[in-house]
């Protein structure tokens, strides 16, 4: 259990956290501004990954693929908002859950229909492969560092967007009083479509970036979606700051738990059993974390408003 191992695992945790943030920020914006619970957010993650894989394969350029992936996710998001989602704003949460659950089924099966059931393999471009040596002789893959960088850059950009621009002002106004921004003459319908598409684009970006690291397959968005829900419940629904801190917390706790809990149990149990006990506990760790946080802060760490 060396220091370099710890540093490397911390970086892995932060990398998972930044990707979770990309998912969670969209979810939390949509909930904060429109009051909508959207299960289909994981589908945008998948759409982004598939579009990136397909375009990268045909153009040979990962960057063009990435741009296509984000665009495709944003377009699909806008379309879904126009056709389905806007009918749901004034509906009970139960209807929102079911309609977006239906969207998951439609997107997953539709993707399977178009692309088949086998995973697609997407690789990062050659100039992003390989590793760098960090201080303390820790070797770390370049691509994962880039993911962390992208996540941080998006977090800063979102902060600037919301605090410094006209669109951001409207989003903030929408979060605090939906009736009022209508009275102020803001076109709410358009604002909602833009916010929804923005969230979808971020999810698509996350899907494409992670897809290049792992694989692109149907249903890839669902585990991430559930984690993103945990993130925004911990962070406080509607809060971007909460989403960022929640994402990092979940990323780091999850990663370190998976590595160190089995190692901890191995000190007094045979490896196979220790892995079983350790990884069962590790899998539950973030939910336990969530329960503890909610016990003290029922509305999450940074409840936007109530």
């Amino acid at each position: 259990m060396s220091v370099t191992l710890l540093i490397e695992q911390l970086l892995n945790g932060v990398q998972l956290g930044t990707m979770l943030f990309l998912m969670a920020s969209g979810l939390t914006l949509v909930f904060g501004v429109m009051g909508l619970i959207n299960l289909a957010h994981g589908s945008f993650y998948m759409v982004g990954a598939y579009a990136t894989a397909a375009v990268t394969a045909s153009t040979g350029s990962f960057l063009i693929g990435l741009a296509a992936g984000m665009t495709a996710a944003a377009l699909v998001g806008a379309l879904v908002e126009l056709i389905v989602i806007r009918r749901l704003y004034h509906r009970p949460h139960l209807d929102q859950v079911l309609a977006t659950f239906a969207l998951i089924l439609i997107f997953s099966e539709g993707t399977r229909w178009i692309f088949g059931s086998s995973p697609l393999w997407l690789s990062p471009p050659s100039w992003l492969t390989g590793f760098v040596t960090l201080p303390g002789d820790t070797r770390y893959p370049v691509y994962r560092l880039v993911l962390i960088g992208v996540g941080v850059a998006i977090a800063i950009a979102l902060y600037l967007l919301i605090s410094r621009t006209r669109l951001g002002m409207r989003i903030r106004a929408g979060e605090s009083d939906r009736e009022m921004i209508g009275a102020l003459g803001v076109n709410i319908a358009k604002l909602y479509t833009v916010v929804f598409a923005l969230g979808a684009a971020l999810a698509g970006l996350a899907g494409a970036l992670v897809g290049a690291l792992q694989s692109v397959q149907v249903g890839m968005g669902e585990p991430v979606l559930i984690l993103a829900f945990v993130v925004i419940v911990i962070g406080g629904i509607g809060s971007i700051k909460g989403a960022l801190l929640g994402a990092l917390l979940v990323g780091v706790v999850d990663t370190l738990g998976r590595v160190y809990l089995p190692l901890f149990f191995q000190t007094f149990m045979p490896p196979s059993e220790a892995t079983g006990v350790g990884s069962s506990l590790a899998a539950m760790l973030i939910y336990i974390l969530m329960a503890v946080i909610l016990a003290f802060k029922p509305k999450g760490l940074f409840a936007a408003n109530d």
Binding site: S2, T4, L5, E8, Q9, N12, Q15, L16, R112, S117, S118, P119, W121, S123, T129, G130, F131, R139, P141, V142, Y143, R144, L213, Q214, S215, Q217, V218, T255, R258, V259, P262, P271, S272, T275, G276, S279
Partner: protein, 380 residues
């Protein structure tokens, strides 16, 4: 089998019904045709169907269903096949966990099951059954053979890794059984895991001189891709499951130099194999994997037994299967007392092929006439 030859085998979709007549033999195939690792099921199916087509028989009906690698789905499909379609023989399951969910109930209902892949230890030992035949391997075989090979090659500090499921724990137990020395670490991953950053960090942090891993299907691709860019420099070893022709082409250059044990190689020289590899390439335009070879052997074993008896005559058909009177593509093949194979295991190395793509090359024999250790627990 007219339909097949007319449309070409490649057009067969996941659920297809072929010609049927009275007194026909009905075979149900439950295999993985979608999701990660679907190429295993596709190859078992294609190898199996190729053997049927080459035999020219038109009285064998094959019903094929996709289990999507879900044990609960496989279980209900097996009930459908037995209770609704009244099949004589079931086959096709790829994964040990699915086999454990399906096989005991199938054999207890009096239906034959022939495994074209997957051989969990319980089915070879305490839960063996007279209606269950394994035509592939017991799970330990290839891993144990690699343990023996690595010991002979002088590796002293291997770190070993597998997913935490029965075939994974069997794999590492099998490896250690014939490696006999100490391993510096054992890593268990989640089944279906896609991110291996944490494991790679642990491997780097250990002072191992070699890595042995068992990550079948898509898991192996994810791992190898991430391994390549991690900068860890260590010879890697595994069973053929992590290095079949399709996986190593998806992995690319990262796989070059890896050595793996297999019960079969496409460049293995014997007559049955030559006809198989040639026929497979002609029908499907790709190199067969060992799964295709196992599917092919399974079908040929069934065909050989059908020459003697119909499955309705269970005792006679069982005897005919036990005789294993067919030309296996892997050379010599016979069953042990628990109806699992006794066979040679070969070593292959991944090299750059003539087309620049990685491919496997046979480099030797790891161990001869390997038999599983569970047959003593089997009371039949």
């Amino acid at each position: 089998m007219k339909m097949i030859s007319r449309f070409g085998l490649g057009l067969l979709l996941s659920s297809s019904v072929l010609t049927a007549q009275a007194e026909d033999v009905k075979i149900g195939m439950i295999t993985t045709l979608s999701g990660g690792g679907s190429h295993l099921g596709v190859d078992v199916r294609d190898g199996f169907m190729l053997a049927l087509e080459q035999s020219g028989r038109d009285d064998v009906e094959v019903l094929i269903q996709d289990d999507a690698r879900r044990p609960d789905l496989a279980r209900s499909l097996s009930n459908e096949f037995i209770q609704r379609d009244d099949v004589d023989i079931l086959t096709g399951i790829i994964w040990s966990n699915l086999a454990m969910a399906v096989v005991p109930s199938v054999t207890r209902q009096g239906t034959f099951y022939l495994s074209p892949n997957a051989g969990p230890s319980d089915l070879a030992g305490r839960m063996c059954h007279e209606n269950y035949f394994n035509v592939a391997y017991q799970n330990d075989n290839l891993h144990g053979a690699m343990g023996a090979y690595m010991r002979e090659e002088g590796y002293e500090r291997p770190i070993i890794m597998a997913p935490n499921y029965p075939a994974g724990t069997d794999a590492l137990a099998g490896f250690k059984h014939l490696y006999e020395g100490e391993v510096v670490g054992e890593l268990y991953t989640q089944m279906g895991q896609t991110d291996y950053a944490a494991e790679i960090a642990q491997i780097r942090d250990s002072d191992a001189d070699s890595l042995f891993f068992f990550l079948p299907g898509g898991m192996g691709i994810s791992f190898m891709k991430q391994w390549e860019s991690s900068g860890v420099d260590m010879p890697i070893f595994g069973a053929a499951f992590s290095f079949d022709e399709i996986l190593i082409k998806a992995v690319g250059s990262a796989a070059i130099g890896a050595r793996n044990t297999s019960l079969w190689a496409y460049d293995l020289e014997n007559e049955a194999n030559a006809s198989f590899v040639e026929g497979f390439q002609a029908a499907y335009d790709r190199l067969p994997t060992l799964y295709a070879a196992q599917g092919y052997d399974t079908a040929n074993l069934i065909l050989s037994a059908l020459e003697t008896a119909h499955p309705d005559d269970k005792d006679a058909f069982r005897e005919a299967l036990r005789a294993a009177d067919f030309d296996s593509v892997r050379g010599e093949f016979r069953f042990g007392p628990n109806q699992h194979p006794i066979q040679d295991i070969y070593v292959r190395e991944v090299v750059e092929g003539d087309d620049g793509e990685p491919t496997n090359r046979l480099i030797g024999v790891a161990i001869e006439d390997i038999q599983d250790v569970y047959y003593e627990q089997c009371e039949m």
